[in-house]
């Protein structure tokens, strides 16, 4: 045969082979030496990230990383599927037949169950060590534990199987709690997430939670919300939404229970809203504190040609002023007061309160509520909005807007995170008081706050059940008919009862807001069921925070002990008594040119020569022994 062809083929084959070898070397080189740090999507390794904890403002742990085991199977190594399945199904309490089916349907690797309990893992480990479970392995995985279970569950949120946040702070602060790795793969494995400190105080949260749970039992409502906030900083101290979920077992909860109602639910606030409308009318100059309106049980305007507007009031209040409008919650009075301002200016005021806007609190799924533009308003809109209908809000919006009354008309940004701290203790972010804007004048704010104190008056104020011993409470209650979604009309038997309190009125520190949705037992009046709840919680907060009550013996103690600094040591004409002085205290002595000081030892002066009282002369040697 043509030997030249054969030689050529030998060469082709050799060159091809060399090429393949070179390609393989390059492949390994690029893989092992030049693997980019995560940029290459063919590298899928996720370095172990220890997700940072979530804590309350005082450092109590609310969420923490756990290490749990997942049961893995390398199916080719499983010898006896039946035996394997029966051992595992017994330990993990899962269906044996289903497991056999799962194993048979896969050919190589599978997870049998992820994140099993430590005791189950120990049990399985025993079998594995005995050699009874070939092919079965335990792989450590990081999980999340919530020691306080359902407490503040909607605020904290939860993480999924792969330990990424799905709700609440866990979701919005996901990248802060477990920072995405930018480090090279394989070597550096210790990545620690940041610690997120919430603004809530676990004790106040507990008070609020208990109060809300009692209401839940007593009134059988659809939901109870309870928020407490620091009035002067906007920090949320307690954040309760019931129904709630046990975060350690969130997957077993119902979707409805997981709704984060205080930010996600929009509802008509009812009469609580009167504080914002009265504040608006005052601010706009439509009314003043002395303005008087007449309530004969109705609000009526006669317009030419069109249907007359007639709105029923809950009572026949007679002559009312802004103060009594709030005190008795007179709808007609509020409606008449609304006629003193234009649609547009009222709408603009409400926008200044940020109604119809997200509150900016960092929680997912926030509602904007509903505030229609003034050009879409009907003739009924202004009067009805003035007492909290035709407008929808979230509980968080109300708390945020109410901050104006405690801050001389300035609205504050509510905060739920007080600080973010790196795992080594370095504070990387700290929330500070964040004023948004001057919504109303300081005078209007204090005026409305004063009016609100009358709501808690014992003589018929709707908020009298929110009164707290020795504290001037500024209160407003609300009872709103729920909109019937089917008919589009107000329901006759479903209500939203609420109560807002700002206290102490002379020096507002705390805002408490409570909403009970559709109570089915006892009563549905905000003043009857929500107000006492607010009163109870406020009372506990007052005691807990040590807010002084009138009648208390107030010892004005600044809360810190000052140690008077000694005046710096100077040499007069006589040698003083040095006994007990520290080296630092002796320092000024060295500046004195007249004397020579010789110090021996460490600690404090024990002996001195010459003794105290000796005249100081130039060139005097002072010997001091320290011990």
């Amino acid at each position: 045969m043509k030997s030249s062809t054969l030689e050529l083929r030998k060469k082709i084959f050799l060159i091809g082979t060399v090429l393949i070898i070179v390609l393989i070397i390059i492949r390994y080189m690029s893989l092992m030496l030049f693997s980019p740090a995560g940029g290459d999507d063919s590298v899928t390794h996720k370095p172990v990230v220890e997700r940072g904890p979530i804590l309350d403002r005082n450092g109590r742990i609310l969420a923490i990383q756990t290490r749990l085991y997942s049961v893995t199977a390398w199916i080719p190594s499983i010898k006896d599927v039946g035996k394997t399945a029966s051992i595992i199904s017994e330990v993990l309490e899962i269906d044996k037949n289903q497991l056999i089916q799962d194993i048979s349907s896969r050919s190589r690797f599978m997870y049998i169950k992820r994140k099993i309990s430590n005791s189950d893992a120990e049990n399985l480990r025993g079998y594995i060590d005995k050699g009874d479970l070939p092919g079965i392995g335990l792989e450590p995985e990081y999980g999340r534990s919530y020691p306080e279970k359902e407490l503040a569950s909607h605020l904290i949120g939860y993480t999924g199987t792969d330990n990424t946040g799905l709700e609440g702070i866990e979701y919005t602060y996901n990248s802060i709690l477990s920072p995405p790795s930018t480090q090279s793969i394989g070597n550096s494995r210790d990545i620690y997430g940041n610690q997120v400190f919430l603004t809530i105080d676990i004790n106040i949260q507990n008070f609020a939670h208990q109060a809300a749970l009692e209401a839940w039992e007593k009134y059988n409502p659809d939901s109870v919300m309870m928020i407490a906030a620091e009035a002067r900083t906007g920090d949320i101290l307690a954040y309760v939404s019931i129904p709630e979920v046990d975060l350690n077992n969130f997957s077993a909860s119902q979707a409805g229970d997981r709704i984060n109602r205080p930010v996600a639910n929009a509802y008509e606030p009812g009469s609580v809203f009167k504080i914002f409308s009265i504040a608006s009318f005052l601010q706009l100059g439509g009314i003043d504190e002395q303005s008087e309106f007449y309530c004969n049980g109705f609000f009526e305007i006669n317009t030419e040609g069109t249907n007359p507007v007639k709105i029923k009031c809950l009572g026949n209040h007679g002559a009312v002023t802004p103060e009594t409008i709030l005190k008795y919650s007179c709808n007609a009075g509020a409606a008449y007061a609304s006629l003193t301002v234009s649609d547009e200016s009222f709408y603009r005021m409400l926008k200044l309160f940020d109604f119809g806007e997200r509150t900016g609190v960092l929680l997912p799924g926030e509602t904007v509520g509903l505030l229609r533009e003034d050009r879409l308003w009907s003739i009924r809109s202004k009067p009805t909005i003035s007492f909290g209908q035709e407008i929808s809000v979230s509980a968080m919006q109300i708390v945020k807007a109410a901050s104006v009354f405690a801050n001389e008309g300035v609205m504050l940004q509510p905060h739920i995170v007080s600080k973010v701290v790196e795992h080594d203790g370095k504070v990387v972010d700290k929330s500070v008081r964040e004023p948004i804007r001057q919504v109303i004048s300081p005078e209007t704010a204090s005026s409305v706050l004063h009016m609100m104190t009358t709501v808690a008056d014992a003589d018929g104020g709707t908020g009298r059940r929110a009164a707290v011993d020795g504290i001037t409470m500024a209160v407003k209650t609300g009872t709103a008919q729920k909109l019937d979604k089917q008919t589009g009309k107000y329901s006759e038997n479903e209500f939203i009862s609420s109560c807002l309190a700002v206290f102490p009125a002379e020096d507002p520190q705390i805002i408490v807001y409570n909403v009970i949705e559709n109570p089915k037992k006892v009563s549905y009046y905000g003043g009857v069921i929500a107000a006492p709840l607010v009163g109870d919680l406020s009372d506990k907060i007052v005691s807990y925070l040590g807010i002084p009550r009138t009648g208390d013996m107030v010892i004005n103690h600044p809360g810190k002990i000052t140690i008077k600094q000694k005046p710096p040591l100077t040499l007069e004409d006589k040698v003083p008594d040095f006994t007990g002085m520290s080296k630092r205290e002796l320092l000024p002595l060295l500046k004195d040119n007249r004397v020579k000081v010789l110090i021996t030892g460490d600690g404090w002066v024990r002996n001195q020569n010459p003794p105290p009282g000796t005249d100081v002369v130039d060139g005097l040697n002072i010997r001091l022994e320290l011990e």
């Binding site: 045969m1 043509k2 062809t5 054969l6 083929r9 030998k10 084959f13 050799l14 082979t17 393949i20 070898i21 390609l23 393989i24 070397i25 492949r27 390994y28 080189m29 893989l31 092992m32 030496l33 693997s35 999507d41 063919s42 590298v43 899928t44 390794h45 390398w74 080719p76 190594s77 896969r106 050919s107 190589r108 690797f109 599978m110 997870y111 594995i128 005995k130 050699g131 070939p134 392995g137 792989e139 793969i185 394989g186 070597n187």
Partner: protein
């Protein structure tokens, strides 16, 4: 001293010491890493840590003895053995289908004397010897399709029998070796072209006829699609390699073999080497294989005897390309298949047949040395 004896000595020179040392080196390194990669698995199975090492060492010893024998028999005897080897391997291939044992969903093993044996390994050697025999006899009639039909049918038959054992990768590998020998023998390009075109639909059908093959293909294209399933092994192997870096973590200090990387001691041992010995270790082993191949091809190219040439070429190609395929699989460059790394992967049949092949190659080196010195 008779003249006859001198001729004998000159014709049958001692075997290539260079090749022999490379083989011994590969085997030594192979056993070392096998121990390192297999002891966690041995412990998991409640065996002594050296369990797999001992098993492999016993088979390697047997293979070495066989290699010594094959090294020293005259080539003519080997030629006469071809028929027997082919017949035996065909028989074993049929027996395994009828009475074999299923391991991991494939029927590839026969139990002989308490040990499982994989006939498809012997088939590799049988095919090489058969093709060497046929082509050395049909040297001048390679243009006719008729004369090619016999070897073609045999390659397909071997391949099909192996495929029937659910050993897709070895079946493909047999066709690859066959093609290499066809190519080097001078079979016209158009036959290759036709053959290639004809086989494409078959290949597609074969690949897509089994769920696990499709899954592996998908896992190869996108390991992250199912990181807990088929893609798992590829991902873990890659992690092992990456974590090895340039110098590696040190022999014995790898972590992925501790249960994370499946098949760490057999098909994916190269990943363990990468993790422990780093890129430098990988490079050394690739170079050793390259030296082995260079030596092997040199020996075969220098053979004047066509049978020796084809045999040497086939054996070298078989060992080298198994290694290259395995390395490509481990690095994720080709879809995962069950091709072992010669000298390294745990597997009695594989190490034994590899050493037998080396014995034949060394035998060839004994007769070539002299021929080179002869003026031609």
């Amino acid at each position: 001293m008779t003249g006859n004896f001198i001729v004998e000595r000159e014709n049958r020179h001692s075997s290539d010491p260079f090749l022999l040392s490379v083989i011994v080196l590969l085997l030594g390194i192979g056993l070392t890493f096998l121990f390192s990669a297999s002891y966690p698995n041995a412990l998991r199975l409640n065996k002594a840590p050296e369990f797999f090492l001992l098993r492999q060492a016993v088979m390697a010893a047997a293979g070495f003895a066989g290699a010594l024998f094959l090294m020293n028999i005259p080539i003519e005897v080997l030629k006469k053995l071809v028929f027997a080897v082919v017949l035996t391997s065909l028989l074993l291939s049929v027996i395994v289908l009828l009475a074999g044992r299923d391991i991991q969903g494939a029927r590839r093993w026969i139990i002989i004397g308490g040990r499982s044996f994989q006939p498809s390994e012997v088939v590799k050697l049988a095919l090489i010897l058969y093709l060497a025999d046929v082509f050395s006899k049909k040297e001048d009639s390679l243009d006719s399709f008729y004369s090619l039909s016999h070897p073609l049918v045999m390659v397909l038959l071997f391949s099909l029998l192996t495929f029937a054992q659910n050993d897709f990768s070895t079946a493909v590998f047999l066709i690859l070796i066959g093609s290499a020998i066809f190519f080097i023998a001078g079979v016209k390009f158009r036959y290759f072209f036709t053959g290639f075109l004809a086989s494409v639909p078959f290949l597609l059908i074969l690949v897509f006829s089994r769920e696990h093959r499709v899954k592996r293909l998908i896992a190869f294209l996108d390991p992250d699609k199912d990181p807990a399933g088929v893609g798992y092994q590829i991902i873990k192997a890659r992690e092992a390699l990456i974590s090895g870096g340039f110098w590696g973590k040190g022999i014995g200090s790898g972590l992925k073999k501790m249960g994370t990387l499946p098949e760490a001691h057999s098909d994916f041992i190269f990943a363990v080497i990468g993790e422990e010995a780093g890129f430098i270790g990988i490079l050394i082993i690739i170079i050793l294989f390259a030296i082995f191949a260079a030596r092997g091809y040199m020996i075969s190219y220098r053979c004047t005897d066509r049978f020796c040439f084809y045999t040497g070429f086939g054996i070298t190609t078989s060992i080298l390309y198994q290694a290259l395929m395995n390395m490509a699989v481990v690095s994720g460059a080709v879809p995962a298949t069950g091709i072992p790394l010669p000298f390294f992967s745990h597997g009695g049949s594989s190490i034994m047949v590899t050493l037998l092949m080396c014995g034949i190659l060394l035998n060839l080196s004994r007769s070539t040395k002299n021929e080179r010195e002869l003026p031609l």
